[in-house]
């Protein structure tokens, strides 16, 4: 397995590669995988395949005449050349720009992005000096994304980690299906914000639309302004000193700290009435079984 080169692996079919690498192809059942940490693991900060980039090596890329695919491929090629800071000129609202970057990088967009911008990120620090369309930062895993102006609906859909910030206002369904990470909105957010949220944190400095946190399973939403209405199973929680310290640190970090501090924020959590681990009551089970 270890003796196979990448060139040899590339010549194989996918099935042959899987077998040659010693991976199982049969259907697994139950908890088959047992892995233990090695306390003597080597200290590394990036994935083994990540390109070696230098933040001080900077370049500009004008994507005006490029398609989104061409622009994304060019960004990857520049990273392979070691560029750690890339400034994108003339994005002109193109969709799906800057997606799938899985390592550290400083990426700066001089303009606005269209739909599904900077999704599936795992590590880079992105600044967008403009607006973004629907689903910015969708499925983000790690890193930071700062949008200087407004964002569209489903901002941070299914985000799993990292910080996603809009300094303006955002549309509806912000952080739908959020599974981790932090979403910060400097202005207002629309209806159904935090819909089906599972964990992570969301900070809304302005007002929140109706049905905030509807069907949220876990996680925390902090709102600095008014809340039009709570969704199903969203309830007010107690704002602790640890919450206040965390809020202060994050809002100062992104230049969004309100003049009157954070004491007035409302904390919203799951009421846990939707936690159904057993669909059938014991008495019902007796009848069915």
């Amino acid at each position: 397995m270890a003796g196979l080169s990448n060139a040899e692996l590339k010549k194989m079919t996918q099935e042959e590669r899987v077998t040659a690498l010693g991976m199982r192809t049969d259907q697994l059942t139950g908890r088959a995988m047992r892995i233990e940490f090695n306390p003597d693991e080597e200290e590394r900060f990036e994935y083994p395949w990540a390109p070696d980039v230098d933040f001080n090596k900077r370049t500009e890329l004008d994507v005006d005449e490029m398609t989104s695919t061409e622009a994304n491929q060019k960004i990857r090629a520049l990273m392979q050349e070691g560029y750690g800071t890339i400034v994108i000129k003339n994005p002109r609202g193109k969709h799906s720009l800057g997606v799938g970057i899985l390592t550290r990088l400083r990426l700066i967009f001089e303009g606005s992005l269209g739909y599904f911008g900077v999704g599936l990120l795992d590590g880079p620090n992105v600044t967008i000096n403009g607006r973004v369309g629907w689903s910015c930062g969708e499925n983000m895993l790690a890193g930071t994304v700062v949008v200087e102006k407004n964002a569209g609906s489903t901002f941070g859909a299914a985000i799993r980690g990292g910080d996603l910030v809009s300094k303006g206002s955002v549309g509806s369904r912000t952080g739908i299906d959020q599974k981790g990470g932090t979403i910060i909105v400097g202005g207002d957010t629309g209806a159904l914000t935090g819909f089906m949220m599972q964990r992570g944190r969301m900070v809304i400095c302005g007002n929140a639309g109706k049905n905030l946190g509807d069907s949220m399973y876990d996680g925390t939403i902090y709102v600095g302004g008014n809340i039009k209405s709570f969704g199903v199973d969203a309830v007010e929680g107690e704002l602790t000193d640890l919450d206040k310290a965390w809020l202060t640190r994050k809002l100062v970090q992104y230049g969004l700290m309100p003049e009157n501090g954070v004491d007035h924020f409302t904390k919203v959590v799951a009421g846990r009435q939707l936690w159904n681990y057993d669909n059938l009551e014991p008495s019902e089970k007796k009848i069915v079984l």
Binding site: N6, V18, G22, M23, F37, N38, G161, G271, R272
Partner: protein, 137 residues
């Protein structure tokens, strides 16, 4: 808990799920024979006074002012043993017996973050094999 009809049990002790793997404390949990909810507080935010040197260096390398995605990583408990959930491999990774557990969750979480990060970046992570086998471009 804030809700009025939550029928699970609360986490009262850092060693609760090491000493009691089943975690059947509330009447409802005993009734259905299953623990309700996580075995750790997923909403616990990190105490940066307890950060390790390795994690501080990681923040510097990545250009972050805080732990970023690692803020969501906690030490959990699987089958009565300490473990960390690894999203890249969609499974629990166990803490070796040789590592002595601190007496508070914040320090345990820092250990969990450090071990998970080193594992994810190592050549023996399942993602490395998966990438070799399935990567198309």
């Amino acid at each position: 808990m804030a809700g009025t009809q939550y029928r699970g049990s609360e986490i009262t002790d850092v060693d609760q799920f090491v000493n009691d793997a089943a975690g059947l404390a509330s009447e409802r949990e005993k009734e259905i024979g299953q623990h309700i909810g996580y075995r750790y507080d997923v909403n616990l935010v990190p105490d940066y006074g307890r950060i390790t040197q390795f994690l501080t260096k990681y923040m510097e390398v990545m250009g972050w002012d805080d732990l970023n995605w690692l803020e969501d990583i906690h030490m959990g408990y699987e089958d009565g043993a300490p473990a960390v959930f690894d999203r890249n491999n969609n499974g629990w990774v166990s803490i070796p017996d040789t590592i002595e557990l601190p007496d508070n969750q914040q320090d345990r979480d820092m250990i969990a973050r450090e071990l998970l990060l080193k594992f994810q970046m190592s050549d023996r992570h399942p993602l490395v094999l998966l990438r070799k086998a399935y990567m198309k471009f």
